[in-house]
């Protein structure tokens, strides 16, 4: 599970994260919603250790995330980047097998078996030998996801998983998210697509002036960046969280 306590981060003179408290348990899917530029991606990046924080504590499964030390997590926090960031010179199979070999110490055969298994699961069994340049957007996303899953993460962070794909693919991404839920992975998704968010979330939150706002509560009437808030609110409409997993932070 993820535990963020009083996290502060300043960027370009403003508090991008202003005392963020967040807990996400295993198997729970939390969606961070809202207009771009509000710091949602920054929150993902500090949880994964890619960026440092100015104050506060972050821990994953009781392991502290040291400021800016992504490597020390050894893949426990999987990050699905918005533009996938696949290794362009390696084929799909090698992309997935690289980290298990280098970090977990698996031998080549075992790593390739694991990679091939994941590709099969995700419907890419015949694409193992393809280079990233030869894959479609959806296929690249699944390879990137498999690359994270090969490290058996307890937390998955998804940065705008629908923005780089055709709108028609949203349901396929939702299927990937439900797979993560089935595997009991704590998932945080950043999305500017409120319909997608509503579809997959157990809990929906937003960042307002660097503070987390639980969307279960009354919508705050404040002046948010880009003014898309009224549209988000309208789109949420009849959404209600699933009662079993509805847990307030």
């Amino acid at each position: 599970m993820i535990n963020c306590q009083r996290v502060f981060k300043r960027l370009a003179g403003r508090n991008v994260l202003d005392g963020v408290d967040l807990q996400v348990t295993r198997g729970e899917t939390m969606v961070l919603c809202g207009p771009s530029g509000t710091g949602k991606t920054t929150l993902l990046r500090v949880i994964s250790g890619l960026e440092s924080i100015d104050a506060g504590r972050i821990s994953v499964d009781s392991l502290p995330v040291h400021s800016g030390s992504a490597r020390s997590l050894k893949g426990k926090v999987g990050m699905l980047f918005q533009h996938f960031n696949l290794f362009e010179h390696l084929n799909a199979l090698d992309n997935i097998a690289l980290a298990p070999r280098q970090v977990l110490g698996l031998n080549k055969a075992a790593a390739h078996r694991r990679a091939a298994g994941l590709l099969d699961d995700l419907g890419l069994g015949d694409k193992g030998g393809h280079l990233p340049a030869q894959l479609s957007g959806g296929e690249k996303q699944r390879v990137a996801l498999a690359r994270c899953l090969a490290m058996e993460p307890s937390v998955m962070l998804l940065d705008e998983p629908t923005s780089a794909l055709d709108p028609a693919r949203t349901s396929q991404v939702a299927a990937l998210v439900s797979r993560l839920k089935r595997d009991n992975v704590a998932t945080v998704i950043v999305s500017h697509d409120p319909q997608f968010g509503a579809q997959v979330a157990d809990r929906m939150m937003a960042l307002d002036q660097g503070r987390l706002v639980d969307l279960d509560d009354e919508l705050p009437c404040c002046d948010l960046v880009a003014g898309s808030w009224p549209r988000v609110a309208a789109a949420l409409g009849e959404w209600r969280p699933a009662p079993a997993l509805h847990a307030r932070a």
């Binding site: 994964s48 250790g49 890619l50 992504a70 490597r71 020390s72 997590l73 050894k74 893949g75 926090v77 999987g78 990050m79 980047f81 533009h83 960031n85 696949l86 290794f87 362009e88 010179h89 690289l98 980290a99 280098q102 970090v103 280079l131 340049a133 030869q134 894959l135 479609s136 990137a144 690359r147 994270c148 490290m151």
Partner: protein, 252 residues
Amino acid sequence: MFDRGMPLQLYLLGNFPEGLLGGLALNVLVALVAFSGSFCLGHGLALGRLSRHRVLRLACGAYVELVRAVPLLIVLFWFFFLMPILLQVALPPLMTALIALTAYASAYQAEFIRTGIRSVAPGEIEAARSLGLSPLATWLRVVLPQAHRHMLPTYASYFTSLFKDTSVLYLVGLVDLMQTGLIAAERAPGRMLEAYATVGALFFIVCWLGSRLASALERWLSPNTHPAARKAQRPHPSTPRRPSQENPHAHA
């Protein structure tokens, strides 16, 4: 009868095997050794310029910029004047020339390597970090393979350029292809044209082969940017990311 004023063997091999290696073989050998050595040193300089430590960054940067700002002849002078003073013993001219040329080429190689490294998407390095790869593993498995692949045509092209640069070495006393031609022209003034034609032709052959290799490498790496390959394009657009490459002979 095409009389070069000297046997062709002299142009190609110098006095070898009776004496020292000379002629075209000397140029090729020096170019190969200097290219290999500078490739290794260039990595050190490139990584130094990208280092977190300010002193290292400035030192490597200063070396690269200074060497690229002066002619090869000046670098040769430096080594030929400095080495006897530093070492208190006279090195054979070939050795000094090799060291000087390697030091000169390292600055250029460092820039190519640095361009290549910068052409690798920073997102991939972040992905490697988030997967837990160590810095060394990231360099060896993710960054350098791609950096070198992107810059292969530039390396091939630079080898050709370095080979042409070796023609200057006769000014410091080596009997290379250029010197052989000049000696032939001097000994038989009536045959000057043939001598120059031979020298020119031999340089041309090696350089032309080098530039064909560079073009072939470029086509192999980016099949869809080459006009001939565009006719047989695959359905998925699949141009690998290429860095914009600078003229390898240019400064700045």
